[in-house]
């Protein structure tokens, strides 16, 4: 899976410098449950990366490990961001390096207003830049400007996701990590969130997203990783992955109507991943 193919967006340049390099990491829960098991992946600058995989594969664990939210993890292996190690740093420090994580539950301050949530996003920054960023964010999600005084917990699911992304953007992240941003959203709302992600990528933000909805993810991702049981089992450009029979079968819901011998063949093939 190393050949580079045309994607919908632009010619992928394999020589773009790596932004995030994860090498052979192991993450354990309770010192014995392996959630990540020798995982290696590389994120290049200014692209959109998607990580797909079945429930329990360890996708959320991966993002949390990078964000530093799991104490004393990764247990083994290294994570480098812009060439400097970040594994086992405190989450505040990792955020300070330019990595911001939007968790699956959005991580909003539910009792605070929309405006206050955004203000927290601007923590430690001041001046004209902040104003410009706020403008950008309000342009991206005009609803947030209308709902400034509303408590975050009273927003709809889609609005909450927008607020979470907007707040993360105000940190000017170099790498924005999102855990299932389309979760629980109506298709049209999910689409508009994804359109916003494309715009965010266009201003030079690298995006790493975990998604169950493979079609949606492939629609904007440049490159994808398929994860199973704590490892990367397949990777490639979005185009390549969408060509892959197994991916079609398992993630895109295509070709499921073949006879059982096909299923067997797939199974055998899958074992070689």
């Amino acid at each position: 899976m190393s050949q580079v193919a045309e994607t919908g967006r632009e010619q992928l340049a394999a020589d773009k410098p790596p932004l995030l390099k994860i090498a052979n990491i192991e993450t354990l829960y309770f010192d014995r449950i392996y959630a990540l098991h020798g995982l290696t992946l590389t994120i290049r600058e200014k692209e959109i990366f998607a990580v797909l995989g079945p429930n329990g594969a360890g996708k959320t664990t991966l993002l949390k490990t990078v964000a530093g939210l799991l104490k004393d993890q990764p247990n083994k292996g290294t994570i480098e961001f812009e060439g400097r190690r970040i594994h086992r740093l405190a989450p505040e420090r990792i955020s300070g390096r330019g990595i911001v994580f939007v968790p699956e539950d959005r991580g909003l301050f539910r009792e605070l207003t929309v405006k206050e949530n955004l203000e927290i996003g601007c923590w430690g920054r001041r001046g004209k830049e902040v104003k410009d960023d706020l403008e950008f964010v309000y342009e991206l999600f005009p609803i947030l400007a209308e709902r400034g005084e509303q408590q975050a917990e009273t927003l709809s699911g889609g609005q909450q996701q927008m607020l979470a992304i907007a707040r993360a953007l105000l940190r000017r992240p170099k790498l924005l990590m999102l855990d299932e941003p389309s979760l629980g959203l109506a298709p049209l709302v999910a689409r508009s969130v994804y359109d916003a992600l494309v715009k965010i990528a266009e201003i030079g933000t690298t995006i790493l997203l975990v998604e169950q909805n493979a079609k949606l993810a492939f629609s904007i991702a440049d490159y994808g990783y398929i994860m199973e049981a704590g490892r990367i089992v397949l990777e490639g450009t979005s185009a390549e992955l969408q060509e892959n029979e197994d991916v079609q079968e398992l993630y895109l819901g295509l070709g499921g109507d073949e006879d059982s011998s096909k299923g067997w063949r797939l199974y055998k093939k899958r074992r070689t991943w």
Binding site: L69, P91, S95, V100, R110, W123
Partner: protein
């Protein structure tokens, strides 16, 4: 009728001190979901320090200021030196509460070692015997000063939390620690500040209380428990609740003491705790059930 007004005023004055103590309890509870049983003892250290400084001839405003700083510093030392290491070793909430109890005992021991053990009258810039007479209601200079200071202090504190960036960071951090961390807020410093502010408010209340009560090592025990009751009454996670709870408790005590019996006055706080926990565990203005302790 005049009597009742009199009790209400006295009660409000006392209640405003309970409110300050309760604010400290609530602030720490919101920060770490820990009931801080060392709160009263840290306050005691502050009051004794103020007393010793006054005895050494330091002007009262400087002595008070230093005492408040000392209380805040002690609380932050506890947070950084004991609580964070305990959390790193995965201490649960009960364990952390017990740590505060132990730390409180150490503070008591310090006071016993270095403080003057004879009950002392505490020299205070306001007099408890000179009084104002406002339309038949008598209030001492000290009580009036307490009331004004307690209310201004609570209100100022409330503004700090609601209207300033650092207050916003405190609210955000206490609501969702992980989210605050991933947004790069220096959460430890913010939480340490909560501990420091809580202790500072406690010492302020302690200085006023020392002026009324005799200053001896366990003198904060009762006011602390009252403040604690006020916090539970208002709702352990609600700052306005702490103020309301403190004022209600103060007035209720004064009325109960005046109209029923003085003996009843001190049990009232405990009756309130039991009553609230049984019938409205989230308190008057709180939103969270007391579940972790």
């Amino acid at each position: 009728m005049e009597n009742i007004l009199q009790y209400a005023i006295t009660g409000l004055s006392q209640g405003s001190l309970y409110a300050l103590v309760a604010l400290g309890v609530v602030l720490v509870y919101r920060a770490n979901r820990v009931l801080n049983f060392a709160h009263g003892d840290i306050t005691t250290v502050g009051a004794f320090a103020a007393f010793m400084l006054l005895a050494a001839g330091i002007p009262w405003w400087l002595a008070f200021f230093l005492a408040i700083l000392l209380g805040a510093a002690i609380a932050m030392v506890f947070y950084f030196g004991i609580l964070i290491p305990a959390q790193r070793r995965e201490a649960n909430h009960l364990g952390m509460v017990i740590l505060t109890l132990g730390f409180g005992l150490i503070m008591q021991a310090l006071v016993l070692k270095f403080g003057d053990l004879e009950p002392q009258t505490f020299p205070f810039p306001l007099s408890d015997s000179e009084t104002f007479n406002i339309g038949g209601v008598v209030i001492s200079h000290l009580s009036l000063g307490t009331l004004i200071f307690g209310i201004l202090g609570s209100f100022g504190f409330y503004l700090l939390v609601q209207k300033t960036p650092i207050g916003l960071a405190m609210r955000a951090t206490s609501e969702n620690l992980a989210a605050a961390q991933t947004l790069g807020i220096p959460t430890r410093r913010v939480l340490a500040l909560s501990w420091g502010l809580a202790a500072g408010l406690g010492v302020m209340a302690g200085l006023f209380l020392a002026a009324v009560l005799f200053l001896d090592p366990p003198f904060m025990m009762e006011p602390f428990l009252k403040g604690f009751a006020a916090a539970i009454l208002g709702g352990l996670n609600s700052l306005p609740g702490a103020i309301v709870g403190g004022l209600i408790l103060g007035v209720a005590e004064a009325l109960a003491g005046g109209l029923i019996s003085v003996a009843f006055k001190n049990t009232l706080a405990f009756l309130i705790i039991i009553f609230v926990l049984l019938f409205k565990p989230e308190g008057l203005l709180g939103t969270e059930f007391i579940e972790r302790v």
